[in-house]
């Protein structure tokens, strides 16, 4: 991983995932290491994302590194009409690594081609957000003690949700059984089903939550957004179907955890938060350790 950009979850092999998970676990035990002292990392957020940016900046600061950058395009030279190419060519002279979020899809791959330093994609439109997936893997491994032979339930917007697609691609490298719960309009695209079939992995599709969730090891919730529906009436009909409530968790496994990439709107009711099976806030803490692992392995410090 040394010196390589991380743009898409498919850029890393199964061995790379496991290496990151191992390093993240080390950082969790011993988070205060001055590994990034003397390093300057640029965080270029052409689109605001408080959680992801603060998580990266927290990881960098805790490891003793310095951060330069901007939190929204409005304060960058992009508003003066500068191309992404020129911004990246310039900024890569100022830093050792670039963390970038940009609303255009493919912008991160392009940035990695013109940059003289490695680039970490912190989200390129609806395309990829690989550090989210690595922190999801870390959370799954940490709570289940393994990545093989798990039953993963993906719930909500399975058509457009990039976190769902990336997680599916990553977990398909392990012996995973998938259960998809979504409205008809937001079903998992056929290309992913065909991919799972080609690997001989099992998947099941459901229209709503049923007793079936008693088999889940992980329930991964996502937002069902109104603007994704061509017919607003269809949204009104289904909007409450994909809300997870505390009483629904009664018959689930003791070891089961509920994950969510956040921000949450109403798809997990607040009464779930106190349940020990709710894991989404700890998941964000795991994000800091996962990003420490990614940063230091790309910079060749671990």
């Amino acid at each position: 991983m040394f010196g390589r950009s991380l743009i898409s979850i498919n850029d890393y092999s199964k061995e790379d995932y496991l290496r990151i998970l191992e390093l993240a676990a080390e950082f969790e035990k011993n988070p205060k290491q001055n590994l990034l002292q003397g390093y300057v990392i640029a965080t270029l957020f052409f689109e605001p994302s408080t959680r992801t940016r603060l998580s990266f900046e927290s990881a960098i600061n805790r490891l003793g590194g310095r951060v330069i950058g901007f939190a929204e395009a409005g304060v960058s030279s992009a508003t003066k009409g500068e191309s992404l190419r020129d911004t990246i060519k310039t900024v890569s002279n100022y830093c050792d690594l670039i963390v970038m979020r940009h609303p255009l899809e493919g912008s991160a791959r392009f940035a990695s081609e013109v940059s003289s330093v490695p680039v970490i994609n912190a989200g390129d439109g609806a395309n990829q957000h690989p550090t989210q997936t690595l922190l999801d893997l870390f959370s799954i491994n940490k709570t289940q003690g393994r990545l093989d032979d798990l039953n993963i339930f993906l719930v909500g917007d399975l058509k457009y949700g990039r976190t769902v697609h990336s997680l599916l691609m990553a977990m398909s490298k392990f012996k995973t059984t998938f259960n998809f719960i979504s409205p008809d309009e937001l079903k998992i695209p056929d290309e992913y089903k065909l991919y799972l079939e080609s690997l001989g992995l099992k998947y099941y599709e459901h229209k709503d939550f049923t007793e079936i969730i008693s088999r889940a090891d992980i329930i991964y919730m996502t937002r069902v957004q109104k603007e994704r529906f061509s017919d607003p009436i269809e949204y009104e009909k289904v909007k409450n179907t994909y809300v997870l409530k505390n009483r629904m968790l009664e018959n689930t496994k003791d070891t089961m955890k509920v994950l969510h990439p956040l921000p949450r709107v109403n798809e997990i009711s607040e009464d779930v938060d106190e349940n020990l099976k709710a894991y989404y806030f700890t998941q964000t803490l795991n994000g800091v350790f996962a990003r420490m692992a990614i940063l230091t392995s790309i910079l060749g410090l671990k």
């Binding site: 609303p103 899809e105 493919g106 912008s107 791959r109 439109g125 990829q128």
Partner: protein, 156 residues
Amino acid sequence: MKEKKEQLVVSAIKDGTVIDHIPAGLLFNVIDILGLQKIENQITFGTNLESKKLNKKAIIKVSEVFFRKDDLDRIALVAPQVKINIIKDYEVVEKKVVEVPDRIEGIAKCVNPMCITNNQNVQTKFEVISKEPVILKCQYCEKITDHNNIVILSHK
């Protein structure tokens, strides 16, 4: 006999390349793909010529230019049935067919309006994941552009 008839409308060349059996509607796409607007050699073309196979076909004759195979292969993206004849001293010395290459740079537009290549000055790059029918995967946004929505970029 058919060859003779064509020569009446599109005159023969001494040395160069003849691109034949172009579906008439794709003539200007082929001109774009080969960048013929930019070369200064003598070029003659005819279109809406009668053809048994294609109903109406077009033909291009470019004097003293011998294209690289990968340049010609790019034509296969829109017109895989095109036939190439290499002419030396008025004789056909070689016949070639075109085949879709494994990678495509430029030429086609990415179908995704949110792709960086459709919003900034970035050349498109695709991996060809299927040749028949043509299916392209964008190297940047990772979205699929298939044969039904391939749009050829113009050199203009």
